[in-house]
Amino acid sequence: MSILVGADTRLLVQGLTGKEGTFHTLRNRAYGTEVVAGVTPGKAGQDVEGIPVFDTVADAVRETDANTSMIFVPPRFAAEAILESADAGVGLVVCITEGIPVADMALVHSFLTGRATTLIGPNCPGAISPGVANVGIIPPEVCMPGRVGFVSRSGTLVYQIVHELTQRGIGQSTCVGMGGDPVHGIGFIEALAAFEADVATDLMIMTGEIGGDDEERAADYIAKQVTKPVVAYIAGFEAPPGKRMGHAGAIVTGSKGTAAAKAEALEAAGVRVARDPSQVAELVQVALT
């Protein structure tokens, strides 16, 4: 079992015919993900190693029953690509693209509110359910099937920590890189809720970063709704305070947003918080035994 991506994933790829799109799609397919379609305007009728290409997501969905979309289109077109998939009723959209203007994402956020599409990303490595399906760019070699769920804002920290879990023989149910953009889709809370409900997940890991208040809100949620053990890691204790955004920014986030405040909030919610990435695997092992 797993969350978000799995045996019933039928993947279409927006931007399949681009260099990165082709490379990662073929890697995902080689891993066992069912890749059913690509979408590139103007290239309908072509194929990429046997994967048929369509002009629109609606066409691709109608012809192939795709239920998941992975997006590799350039930043200036990526928000539109998310809207296209949502409008076509695709259930899960994984947007890998980095550098999307945040105003475009604010429109996406508004449109997705209350609609039946879940978004992962943008600027994220995607999600992998080891041994079953990989949608995105997480290197599957570092993963192994198992019962730990993992959600992270950072991509490379996913690779790093999953690698260490695997080295200790601790497998994963699903690893999700939610991306660190200011306005993004699925967050810690949605991922934790899914793991909490997933019978094949025994424990979850979340790794956060300075900025925003996603981790603080996750801590609240864990305190109230999560019964499975949670291990966390927060990066950025030593990060510079960053550019001051005027008074308004401080009013929005209050004293929240620092790594220390986040770690504290999580610990107060009963989460074991690692002090460096390598400690995560240790804490998981302790929690599982």
């Binding site: 203007p101 945040v102 105003a103 290197p139 490379t156 690698h163 996603d214 009013i251 929005v252």
Partner: protein, 381 residues
């Protein structure tokens, strides 16, 4: 990108928001001349990419061109909270009847825009939000719905009746600016009503989304006025995220999370990072070489830690990039290299085969941090 006040006001005027008459000066004489043009008195304000200038002596009222020259001379070339001052803005003094505050920003926790306004413009706004939140109107604006008449009515609700229509008009123009120019923050503190009833933005703080600058070449060009840091410029050119810090361990890594994490681990190992440098995903040999040049160009660096976890990035290419860079750049300090993930074994084999005297290859991040910290501290001692 955080704009200078005078650039922000240029955007204000383009969107029909009134500002005081102002002249940018880059010399004491220029400030004096500007003050003369403005009638003999003025306010002289340093132009830097941060706020808090009022408290730091960055805003001074002067009553003569000579005083303007004096203040400008003091300001220009000085360092204001780490920012070099190369321009001042000289503005006319206006007869102010009321001071208000307004701002509009992209709120990452709700994914929409947050607009705020209060009649109490002289106050410290963070303090006001804490102590008397009812005096600060806050309205969330959904991006598809847009700023509606009812949002505006709500926002202007604490203002004197005679200022509401004008302030509402300013709010609509700010929203238009935010949406059309991809601003993630517009703050006006104070927004004032003059004796004649008109509403004027006395200050401007505008941040524009870096990801959207491709849509706004005119705003991107504002960066030409910013003081140039050659190291930073070099890094930016290669698409590297580089931030100078205070320590002596140079850091190179891939992915913001991993680099931040590396900073933390080095700190726990007893040293401090000299910089933050993210080579990004799919780092090429070329980027690796530039990264090393950038980091080694910092004289405070006593050791370098290269922490790569290969995902898209292939460790064999990283190893080749490091060796290639060392043919171009002379490394006067040790380089601790930790390679893991995609093709890590090949990468480590390449380094081993090269047997470069400056390179220390380690297997884990913790070990790498400890080696780098002790090398840097040893050198410092």
């Amino acid at each position: 990108m955080d704009l200078y006040e005078h650039h922000g006001k240029e955007l204000f005027r383009a969107h029909g928001i009134e500002t005081p008459r102002g002249i940018v000066a880059e010399s004491a004489e220029g400030a004096a001349e500007a003050t003369r043009e403005l009638g003999g008195s003025s306010v002289v304000k340093i132009q830097v990419q941060i706020g808090g200038r009022g408290k730091g002596g960055g805003v001074v009222l002067v009553d003569s061109p000579e005083r303007a020259a004096e203040e400008a001379a003091r300001m220009l070339g000085s360092d204001f909270m780490g920012h070099e001052v190369t321009q001042v803005l000289v503005e006319e003094l206006l007869p102010i009847a009321h001071e208000f505050y307004t701002s509009m920003l992209l709120d990452r926790s709700t994914g929409d825009y947050l607009a705020m306004m209060t009649a109490e413009g002289g106050m410290d706004i963070e303090e006001l939000a804490r102590t008397r939140p009812q005096a600060l109107r806050r309205v969330h604006v959904d991006a598809m719905l847009g700023l509606r008449a009812f949002h505006v009515r709500e926002l202007i609700g604490t203002l004197p009746v005679g200022a509401r229509e004008g302030a509402g008009d300013v709010l609509r123009r700010i929203y238009e600016l935010v949406r059309e120019r991809d601003a993630t923050l517009v703050e006006v503190n104070p927004l004032v009503q003059l004796d004649d009833g008109s509403i004027v933005a006395l200050d401007s703080k505008v941040t524009v989304d870096d990801n959207a600058l491709f849509r706004h070449p005119d705003i991107e060009a504002y960066a030409e006025a910013f003081p140039i840091d050659p190291v930073q410029a070099r890094a930016n050119e290669q698409g590297l995220q580089y931030v100078k810090l205070e320590g002596n361990v140079g850091i190179i890594g891939n992915g913001a999370g991993l680099v931040m994490s590396t900073l933390d681990v080095v700190a726990r190992a007893g040293a401090r990072a000299a910089n933050f440098l993210d080579v990004g995903g799919g780092a090429s040999a070329d980027q690796m070489a530039t990264s090393l040049e950038v980091v080694l160009g910092d004289p405070s660096v006593k050791a370098v830690l290269i922490n790569i976890f290969g995902g898209i990035t292939r460790c064999d290419l990283v190893a080749e990039g490091v060796l290639g860079a060392l043919e171009r750049v002379e490394a006067g300090v040790p380089l601790v290299v930790r390679l893991d993930g995609t093709n890590a074994a090949q990468g480590r084999a390449i380094l081993e085969a090269a047997a470069h005297p400056r390179i220390v290859s380690t297997a884990t991040m913790l070990e790498a941090a400890e080696r780098a910290a002790s090398l840097a501290n040893g050198a410092a001692a």
